[in-house]
Symmetry: C2
Subunit: 578 residues, 2 copies
């Protein structure tokens, strides 16, 4: 394609409000433009990258016999009322009425839509398992859209769903999809980790996240420096093993209430008592969607992990309780809360590490007072089902598999696969007759890839100070032909010949036919980041051009007669190098 025909408005300056690298580069290189907050137009170069990403996804989905479909983006609210999500999804759900005053939503995801289709049209286990997917715009009314394409209100997602008649079918689909995802991300050439994800919010049992390490990432990837273990921060576990009987051989000292008017934080309490925070507990109050209060106790050196709490309780979400509500219910403010003497309507959960403490200090549920020498059993009843890992893992702790220490890095979620189970099939009546003629709920999986987010994630990882550096598999064009002066007959002839012969090879060629200075052409070429640049200059008449490999910035002269053969090899090399 001729660059004069391409809508590619590069900028001299990076717009001031673009905070992260991908946003800055995609704006500057003329790939995207904002249309309104959190919604972007994909200009031609970006659309070419999206098309390549989508083609790779389609090939790998088709390879595992997933069926491509397309469902409406506008959905009747009634469908989401039946699953319960119309009420629980929160403010991110776009809601509106049509001209007949009926309620609709813009789909952020489509579990309900596909489940309903299967409920109506699949009646026997013999038709299962089936895998379906679609690539389509999704909508989420983010409170604070940000970071360019990383957090938007309208985005392109590949969503897939598996329907099976039994658990083995779900397990097989999950395994197939995980393998397909690995192929997809490998082919796209992005660096990523497969990590343990949180399935709880989707009502599922098991999940894996595909996360691309990048400074702009909003997620924390926790990984072991000596094993394959990796999880997102909400799910990450350290290697703590509970003691069998911590009180054995210890003298239980007398419970004692003391004044601690100036000890509102763990640090202040630890200093006052001259005690290690790991030997103290802190108590946090959370509130469930049913508006029940739950007290969660951890040792003073850890933070409470709300996701672990909500998954333990079986809620899609819990929130930190409001201090007013806590004071009204418990009679004390934050900083003086503790497990002893809680009202009956407040449930108690205790982290494993805190459950193993003996003679520990805790808030007395009375402002400005703490207890010393609290002991489980004696002072507070505590059952095993109240004890679990409710803490957020810390960098440097031993990995849960016992191999290596936990390390933290920032990541961008680019894919997520879930074992959903029967949450949606139960709610929407998606059942099949099994081998014995009995009705059984279909067992579902749900599998997403953030297509437009991938565009940004690649840009976050693959760039240098001159601009973008696309992996060959998803670059908008394969080769950038840059003649220095098209009025020179030799250069014009070589340019036309190379364009024709490279195109004949099936390569996508962009020809910079603009009347610009060479410096402008080179700067734009580096900025938009095609894998191979061929500069046609003064030596064209001698049969020589200059080849620049964008990734390595290596430049060398090449005989024109060798170009056709060499470029394919160079492009392959680019892909292997990823």
């Amino acid at each position: 394609m001729k660059q004069s025909q391409l809508f590619m408005p590069t900028l001299r300056e990076i717009p001031a409000d673009a905070e992260v690298k991908s946003h800055q580069l995609l704006l500057k290189a003329g790939y995207i433009r904002p249309v309104t907050a959190g919604m972007f137009a994909y200009l031609p170069l970006a659309k070419r990258v999206l098309n390549k990403i989508e083609a790779i996804i389609r090939e790998e989905m088709d390879a595992v016999d997933a069926n491509e479909m397309l469902v409406p983006e506008v959905l009747p609210a009634e469908l989401w009322e039946r699953s319960g999500r119309y009420a629980t999804y929160g403010q991110d759900l776009y809601k509106f009425k049509n001209r007949q005053d009926r309620d609709f939503i813009l789909g952020p995801t489509h579990e309900e839509t596909f489940t309903e289709l299967f409920a109506n049209d699949v009646k026997s286990y013999k038709k299962l398992p089936l895998l379906v997917y679609q690539i389509q715009a999704k909508f989420r009314d983010e409170g604070r859209p940000r970071f360019g394409l990383l957090r938007t209100r309208e985005f392109i997602m590949k969503d897939a769903y598996s329907f099976s008649a039994d658990q083995a079918g779900l397990d097989a689909a999950f395994t197939k999809m995980e393998a397909a995802y690995v192929k997809i991300f490998d082919r796209i050439g992005i660096d990523y980790r497969v990590i343990v994800g949180d399935a709880g919010a989707m009502g599922g049992s098991d999940s894996k996240e595909f996360s691309a390490p990048a400074a702009a990432g909003e997620d924390t990837i926790v990984y072991s420096d000596q094993s394959e273990y990796a999880a997102n921060l909400e799910m990450a576990k350290d290697a703590y093993v509970r003691q069998e009987n911590p009180q054995e051989g210890q003298e239980l000292a007398e419970l004692q209430k003391i004044d601690t008017p100036n000890a509102k934080t763990i640090a202040e309490l630890a200093e006052l008592l001259d005690e290690d925070p790991a030997q103290l507990v802190k108590t946090i109050m959370v509130v469930t969607p049913d508006e029940d209060l739950v007290a969660v106790v951890t040792t003073g050196d850890f933070e409470v992990n709300l996701v672990k709490v909500q998954n333990h309780l079986g809620y899609p979400e819990v929130e930190l309780a409001d201090e007013g509500l806590v004071k009204e219910t418990v009679g004390a403010s934050f900083g003086s809360l503790g497990p002893v003497g809680l009202p009956e309507n407040v449930q108690l959960l205790v982290d494993e590490r805190a459950a193993d403490l003996v003679n520990f200090a805790a808030g007395a549920n009375e402002d400005g007072k703490h207890f010393l020498n609290v002991n489980w059993g004696r002072d507070v009843e505590l059952n095993d089902d109240q004890v679990a890992d409710f803490r957020t893992a810390k960098e440097g702790d031993l990995s849960v598999d016992g191999k290596g220490k936990l390390q933290f890095t920032k990541g961008i979620e680019i894919g997520h696969i879930f074992k959903l189970g029967t949450k949606y099939s139960k709610a929407l009546g998606a059942q099949v007759l099994d081998e014995n003629g009995r009705n059984t709920d279909m067992i579902m999986g749900s599998y997403g890839i953030g297509v437009s987010r991938l565009l940004a994630a690649i840009a976050e990882q693959k760039s240098d100070d001159k601009g973008l550096v696309w992996p060959a598999s998803v670059a908008p064009f394969d080769v950038h032909l840059v003649p220095i002066n098209l009025k020179d007959d030799d250069q014009a002839k070589v340019t036309a010949e190379l364009e024709a012969s490279l195109t004949d090879q099936g390569l996508e060629v962009l020809v910079d036919d603009r009347k610009e200075r060479p410096g402008v052409k080179f700067a734009d070429a580096d900025l938009i980041g095609l894998p191979i640049r061929i500069t046609i200059g003064k030596k064209a008449g001698e049969g020589i051009v200059e080849v620049t490999v964008r990734g390595t910035q290596s430049e060398f002269e090449m005989r024109i007669s060798e170009v056709n053969e060499s470029i394919a090899v160079l492009l392959d090399g680019q892909e292997d190098a990823q």
Copy 2:
């Protein structure tokens, strides 16, 4: 692909509420399912057809250097307020508020979005002309969605826009796009006509419609039986030529008011006066968006054409006036209206045929009264700019080009191209500096293809009593392999070999591996309508299979060794036959 892995829920019965053939067949053959009124899920077979249609569109758009892009589907209302369409687009526009109470719409088309992008990023005529397009869901809150995919609330459209610095650039883009559309529809294999369309509603000057003849079509195609002339009913013209001076040599009889209490219609008046309706006039009142009344006079044998009226007046829409308003303003009811003595605030328009009448009868603007011997000039002032073609053409009249008679047929609008001019660039400030350094409005064109509607239009045209008959270029698969009994070793072996060898040729193969009776398999095969079926039966062991060409239902035996070579030829033949 194995049919057991394909989500293809065929039905025994056609759902009762499906009125037109495409809707019935696409439901029955498992291509589509309704999700809510006017919104459909495209099941795997339909999505494969859509993908092929889209691929053809992309290839032909790319061939004319159109740039593929993608803009948000959710748009800020403010953008449409600036073009004026937020107020004028009517109830079909989905409007809603986001969580911050800001107004948004769901885009039914994207002139504003692209104009805004070009306004911000293109500043010089040197960057133009440019062509851009996208393929994407569009939204229109139809009052009465109907006929399956033919009139929906969410649909897939290819919309394209051209931006030029001068009129010649627009003309060139329009010509290029028209040629590309011809290639697209030829390749898709649909029967269509290129007809004169109505550009008025889009604020443009010239338009062509691509209309697919089909009984289910909601549009009327008017065409000459002896020339290339074709237009939609709103734009169609007959060959009437105005008389130079109709009153010359005629005696102007005295104006006379008569009682006509029982002549409320033209038929009644013609009978009362024993006169040809072509020698009488009727007067219709329309109301403009500015709430002005306009009287439109035609001869009694024609209907007023509101589109011609609104285009003449330069409004996107006019409506028939309410009788109450007419009575209040004019003092008479429908049936007694006429051009003589209208109030000054009522504008008068006269059709050419009516303007050539002498001594004609017309309503007297007094209930139950008519005038006889009305004459233009003497009784009513009439200037040339009030006279034009305001009538709806009639079947059988002479075509405007003087060649042949006008014929009517029903058609489905599948494409529409417009010369838009500067309506949107003026409104949104999309200007470039021209060669002389002066600011000039960009001149735009707009070009649409109804992608999901095409799916239905093809189905309307290409089917028989057994089911769908896809053109080879857009069929979901090329070849349907139907083994009678896969437990038979010979049949299983031949099926596997043919699947592999045909796939290696680049053909898409569907293998019916289901445990169903042959009759069920054949019926399903005919219903879903793939171009070539190969039945692998008892003679498989002898190296013989049966080939069925879906389009012609011709069946013949073929040696397996000849299949690979013959199928490609048969498929080509199918495409040529279109």
